[in-house]
Symmetry: D2
């Protein structure tokens, strides 16, 4: 059964991107109008009007949207595809299904569960998966299923296969809410949905393990956090959101970690919210966030 968000009933989101050329905005606007839609919000960006890449996000209201989607898609295929553009049409009243992977730290996990319960994240959460059990009770108290998939040392194949089986067909994206296992390339290929990570530093500073310890050693005056899409290259994927917080000489590495936790959960929950609202477009190793 698909969950619908009533406030967004009959709201469609159309994402368009591809090579820029004159007239795209007019063509798309005309298409929406002739299909009975009323534009509520429109964002548009071109990285170079001459020969650059074009990006657009339009939210429009169309009474009886579900029934109309096939013909709107047909129109898009007929008039927008020939312009060399890719497009994606979604019904905003259908929340995306988000799985959360977590290890022992609960701060990012709880922030997402709370914000979801407050109605701030347009998602459903079919499951939380962890290689530890300490968060099980908290997760289930939010009415969310919890699955324990223990790490199995250097050979990740077994654990990853088990996770793939849980995720397969059940989720639209995955959030690594401080999941301290490096995922294999084949895992990323198999699950086939976007994976969002939170890294506990202001990337590209302090790539890899123990960034707070490294930050203390370097004597930085700000700490940060970065949420990005996961790619095969560790900590190198497209950045969605970042933020920093002020620290000083008196903070130990443990203090940095405590303060950092608040930056991490804020940054990750913004990234998740924007992704769930179809506000983020990936373009090479960059993101356009509307």
């Amino acid at each position: 059964m698909t969950v619908h968000t009533d406030a967004l009933r009959d709201h469609a989101c159309l994402i368009i991107h591809g090579p820029d050329r004159p007239g795209i905005v007019a063509a798309v606007s005309a298409l929406i109008t002739r299909n009975g839609g009323n534009i509520l919000a429109l964002d548009q960006y071109s990285d170079d009007p001459i020969g650059g890449a074009f990006f657009q996000r339009v939210v429009f209201h169309r009474p009886d949207l579900q029934a109309a989607i096939p013909e709107i898609e047909a129109d898009l295929a007929k008039t927008i595809t020939p312009l060399g553009l890719e497009w994606r049409l979604t019904d905003q009243s259908i929340p995306k299904r988000m799985a959360i992977l977590v290890s022992t730290s609960d701060h990012c996990l709880l922030e997402l569960l709370w914000r979801h319960r407050r109605g701030e994240l347009p998602v459903t959460i079919p499951m939380v998966i962890s290689n530890h059990t300490n968060t099980a009770e908290d997760v289930r108290s939010f009415g969310v299923p919890f699955f324990h998939v223990p790490s199995q040392g250097p050979d990740k194949a077994g654990a990853e296969a088990e996770i793939v089986k849980l995720l397969e067909g059940n989720v639209d994206f995955v959030v690594l809410a401080r999941y301290m296992q490096i995922l294999s390339d084949s895992f990323l290929e198999q699950i086939g949905v976007p994976v969002i990570n939170i890294h506990h530093s202001f990337l590209p500073a302090f790539i890899g393990a123990a960034p707070y310890r490294k930050a203390k050693e370097r004597g930085v005056k700000l700490i940060g956090a970065t949420s990005h899409y996961v790619t095969k290259d560790l900590d190198e994927g497209p950045i969605i959101e970042q933020d920093t917080a002020r620290v000083d000489h008196s903070h130990s590495a443990a203090d940095l970690q405590e303060r950092g936790a608040y930056v991490e959960r804020a940054v990750l929950s913004r990234a998740v919210q924007w992704h769930a609202q179809d506000r983020v477009i990936r373009h090479g190793n960059h993101t356009i966030v509307f």
Copy 2:
């Protein structure tokens, strides 16, 4: 002689606002396309899709723009005006003419003059007017004319008349860069162009005189600054931009003033830049900043 900014040659900015209704974006986009324009940037906002107010800013490139403006305006009058919408079309290569009024404090004044010299403000500065003379040398070292119009006590009529005479026909907007005289209603009517002020507090906190002293007395932990359009009601006009900075118990009122100066100049220069780029639309006592 009109000054042109080469990088913006043939760039037009079209502002549209009025009651929302389906199809406005499509109608405007079609108009731009059929008049040979290519949309470079488009921002749009509706405060309520049903019966609300609609706001749009489009920047488009149109070869040989100057020659085309009359026919574009005719098209706008024919197709957009009947929708009950107001519109304003400007050639972005023509910088707005900005006058600065200042008293003794030089920090906001110098920030504007520097940023202008660095090419960050798309304006010309035909004059600086002050009721003091301490900034005259600095102003003239930037190649900008300086006029001294002394305050004349409670009766402002004479001084204001002199200022009106200097401004009349020569400027597109006026910036009060810490000009410590309250302007009369009739002055505002006579000059007939937008006036932007910087208030040295986070409005609506600390309205009126001596906000840093009041902030010290109240024991706030942040100070702020507010840039707004000037209306007849002191410190009540539409806010364009605000920001704050952290302070603590150890700061005297003089320290707050020193720190505040940096917030003031940042806030004012952002507000001026956005106004000069036609990014700000006034709507009642609010601003939409695209």
Copy 3:
């Protein structure tokens, strides 16, 4: 049974304030040294070296502190009191007892419960009191007792008497974590411990009810939150901490409320942490936060 925090065993915090005069720091340091203490942290502030008020906070380590406290206090009474100074000596290993009062909004409440569980707040939480029941289950899942004291309309006397009875002798301070009832003067006198409130605006802007609606109406570009000690004058007590977050024209009053919730919980939890660590000294309507 008193709860002890092991990491802070034998750590004392000494707060001193009163009229400034030469030699206070030396006198206090000598006292600590001759009583076997080693200074770990020292903060000091004078609002005016000549005739001003002096404030000092010293944390020192003293083996077998509990046994030594009577003689240290006797020494303070003999050498520091005669200088006209007030002092307060606390054993940092004994957490303060904090009661939370809350209405229906759970964000500030949950932040405090969760930070407490993470070990970031040096307090015990003997009870949460609410005039509603919606947070009862959450509170009890943290192992904290929940008491429901319904509001009783305009006559608050009954409800307040019930709350006083619950608090009496059981708490060292009270936090109003979005408790939407105005407390009477006599209530404040009866409970006789500090009360910390979170106000959902950047005070002194938007005093009183519905600050987010007022913020939307005024068109501000930042929203804020303020944590302060409660006094008889509503929203006028000494400010402990404030912060702001950026908003724009597209945010509805409900959006401001959502964003504001995250500022509120951050501001309140910092204020509570500092109060619990004896970092905050009240001075008239101001606070010194070390």
Copy 4:
């Protein structure tokens, strides 16, 4: 002739650091008191009370300070040196002499000159040295001597020798206000005074040349700036201050540079102010900033 700042007449600043041990604060406070000083501000930090490093900064008022300095120093040598501590006593009314080295970018240079003119930097500026001439007129309009020392390609020896000759004996510290030449190790040794640099990124991200281009390529959502002491290892010296500003996908590398300029000048001027006020203590590759 030594310049004196009247407001700081008879204000001494004493910096102490070395291995921590019980009783240091008491010993120092007693020393100041018995030498007729009244403590105005005291900051203290120990990175580990057991076997760690201790740092203290005390500002005290001593009537007729100049005459008393020899005997205070004798007392320090007799009572503090034997504790294994290093100390440094300065008369705060004597501003430090600061040279500025700059290339073509004027934003950091002008910020320093202008803040100095406003009285916010307790320094004198005996000279600005540049490998270009474009800032000469601006510098001299502030009444500051300007010396042109052209770069001479790969062999820096000649230019560096000329700069050493200008600086020698004339300055207490040097600021690289966007000086785009790498200084040789021997140059740093010869001048023998602290050198403060501004790097246009949030170090350790984007070490080396062209950080804004690298930031654009990486797609970061914040840009930053870092002020640090210069050591033999490029961009690796102890960090004094850092800050960041928000950017998004629509900003070109040139836009990042424009925004970054404002972060750079704020960060550098804070670092310079703190250094000039003797607030910064170097400890290995870290700074303690009081």
